[in-house]
């Protein structure tokens, strides 16, 4: 077969396979699109069979979700989730940055062992420590306290952050740092002028991924919080049992609470794999 024929064959197949890819992409996205559409329907239109695709649009679902119908307001839960996710992400960065520095730029002895220790803690299932943490919280009056979640989310994300940042900091050529040192630059200058600019995109991606994991977490939040420190996913568990016609409200709630994750996820899209695979895949 000539090269031209090969290319022609592959181009014709390429169009067909491109269509298949489009089709599968739409199938995977359909539940989300349907959720979005339903959230803008009235409750009566949301619960029809066959489905009402062309029903008129309304913001009632969102109004209901935000407490217009006398239900619980989601704002405390949204604020709790924001505090837990943002604060734990900041703590993670404060702890992980120096650690990653000591594991890549000026590595300690046996740095690979330390790195793998961090990774192994990630593989310890959360339920393994749940009961002692619950008993501890109960005896120290930390139950239903958002800062307990902040501490736990920090420990949940720290290994991911250390691994990610290690892989980002390792990409900085040692020669640049050495050159700066030879030119008489002190450590703070090297860190702010040389390391930070190169590592910043990686640090940002790490922060976004830690934010997502904290925002999503349910098990700890469910067990360790109550009315005061309830987070957004715990708020969502209030929709587990059906409450008559409530589909539009459920869809609005799910969508609003997922929005920060969707935004963070798409912002970190390029580094998502690296983060999820703990830096093993670039």
């Amino acid at each position: 077969m000539s090269a031209v024929a090969v290319r022609l064959r592959s181009r014709r197949k390429g169009v067909g396979l491109g269509l298949v890819a489009w089709l599968l992409g739409i199938v995977f996205f359909l539940p989300i699109a349907w959720m979005a559409l339903t959230s803008f329907h009235s409750e009566a239109d949301a619960a029809t069979n066959p489905p009402s695709f062309a029903a008129s649009l309304t913001l009632d679902g969102y109004r209901e979700f935000f407490g217009a119908g006398g239900g619980a307001s989601p704002w405390p839960a949204l604020i709790n989730s924001t505090v837990a996710s943002v604060a734990s992400t900041l703590f993670v960065l404060v702890l992980a940055l120096p650690a990653a520095y000591a594991l890549s730029i000026r590595p300690v002895k046996k740095w690979t062992d330390v790195l793998f220790f961090f990774l192994s803690t990630k593989m310890l299932p959360a339920v393994a420590g749940l009961l002692p943490l619950y008993l501890f919280a109960k005896n120290t009056d930390m139950l239903d306290n958002i800062w307990l979640l902040v501490i736990l989310y920090t420990s949940m994300n720290l290994p991911i952050a250390v691994w990610m940042m290690h892989s980002f900091l390792s990409e900085i050529p040692v020669a640049i740092i050495e050159a700066a040192r030879v030119d008489g630059a002190k450590l703070p200058t090297i860190l702010t002028r040389v390391v930070a600019p190169i590592a910043l995109p990686g640090i940002a991606a790490t922060a976004l991924i830690c934010f997502i994991f904290s925002w999503n977490e349910l098990l700890f939040a469910r067990v360790l919080t109550g009315v005061v420190a309830e987070t957004a996913p715990v708020f969502l568990t209030g929709f587990i049992t059906s409450q008559g016609l409530f589909l539009a409200k459920v869809c609005a709630a799910s969508l609003v609470i997922s929005l920060p994750v969707l935004a963070a996820g798409f912002a970190a899209q390029d580094k998502l794999v690296q983060g999820l695979s703990l830096g093993a895949v670039k």
Binding site: F29, L103, V127, G129, F136, V162, V250, V273, L276, V281
Partner: protein, 312 residues
């Protein structure tokens, strides 16, 4: 401060001078690492040790005075209790089914996305989206909006073709949970495998192509061997997350209809039944299961890691 410490050091003999400063420097290198390390040990290792200790006690928090050392009784009970044994089996089934299905689907999608076509970026974004829905929200979406027998989307679409109107969750509860998890985890597998595909040696593939190798031959003999470790990595990381899954089981079936997996059982046995000892023993079993998976996972990660370090 510096003046007082350096002065006596200067007068001491060379060999004693060097040792403390070398030790000091080693500690200075270690210092940035210590906060993170100590934090992790305190927050993750201590609770697990406590779980291990509690697992040897007969301890119901409703009857705290009756607490006593029970040896391996809890483990015996966990392993002989029909419900608990069933939850071990459910965990295995759930994990294997979800990981395999999402891995195969992820591979198909990654292969499709590895080709150039119009709107590839858009399709990629559409495919990643399910992974970026909050897990509880995704579970609610499947439970109420898709599976509901009266007004769910699935039965609504079946209605158009005159199909049956099954009650998805009641008929096939575990499959219902699995399907929702496959939907969420396929993008994860796809991303890892896509990264694997893009790290292939393209010259080698081009050469095979020019030599007249068929697409299937190239896939079978070049792509698949290259992808092997990415498949392993996806499977192992996926297993670690799905073994621990709580959200989907809790939301879609509330552990009913035989879908209670180990994390849900642990949650239930201490949060609702207040059986601290039993819950801990079940927790330790989850850990043992995870350690078995993790040993393999760590090996795969470290082989990818070594390769990278040697490339650098």
């Amino acid at each position: 401060m510096t003046a007082t410490t350096t002065a006596p050091v200067a007068t001491t003999p060379v060999h004693t001078n060097r040792q403390p400063s070398a030790r000091l420097r080693a500690w200075a290198t270690r210092a940035p690492l210590l906060p993170a390390l100590v934090f992790m040990i305190v927050v993750t290792q201590l609770p697990f040790v406590a779980t291990l200790v509690i697992s040897f006690f007969d301890w119901n928090s409703l009857y705290p005075d009756a607490r006593h050392f029970a040896g391996i009784d809890n483990y015996r009970e966990v392993l002989t209790d029909a419900d608990l044994r069933h939850s071990v089996w459910t965990t295995v089934l759930l994990t294997v089914a979800v990981v395999l299905a999402s891995l195969v689907l992820g591979l198909v999608l990654a292969l499709l996305l590895d080709r150039r076509f119009r709107g590839r970026g858009v399709v990629r974004t559409l495919l990643i989206a399910p992974f970026l829905v909050v897990p509880v929200a995704a579970a609610l979406l499947w439970k109420h909006v898709l599976y509901n027998p009266e007004y769910g989307l699935f039965n609504g679409l079946l209605h158009y073709v005159g199909g049956p109107q099954p009650d998805w969750i009641s008929n096939t509860p575990l499959l219902a949970v699995e399907a929702s998890l496959v939907w969420q985890w396929t993008p994860f597998m796809m991303l890892i495998l896509l990264a694997g595909l893009q790290s292939r040696d393209h010259e080698q593939i081009e050469a095979a192509w020019v030599d007249g190798a068929s697409d299937w031959q190239i896939f079978r003999h070049l792509t698949l061997p290259h992808l092997r470790r990415y498949l392993e990595l996806g499977a192992l990381l996926g297993s670690i997350y799905i073994v621990q899954n709580f959200d989907a089981v809790f939301t879609i079936t509330s552990g009913g209809l035989g879908t209670a997996n180990l994390p849900y059982t642990v949650y239930q046995s201490f949060y609702q039944a207040h059986e601290n000892g039993l819950a801990s023993a079940a927790g330790v079993l989850v850990v043992i299961g995870s350690i078995i998976i993790a040993t393999f996972a760590l090996r795969v990660v470290s082989s990818l890691f070594r390769e990278e370090v040697s490339h650098a």
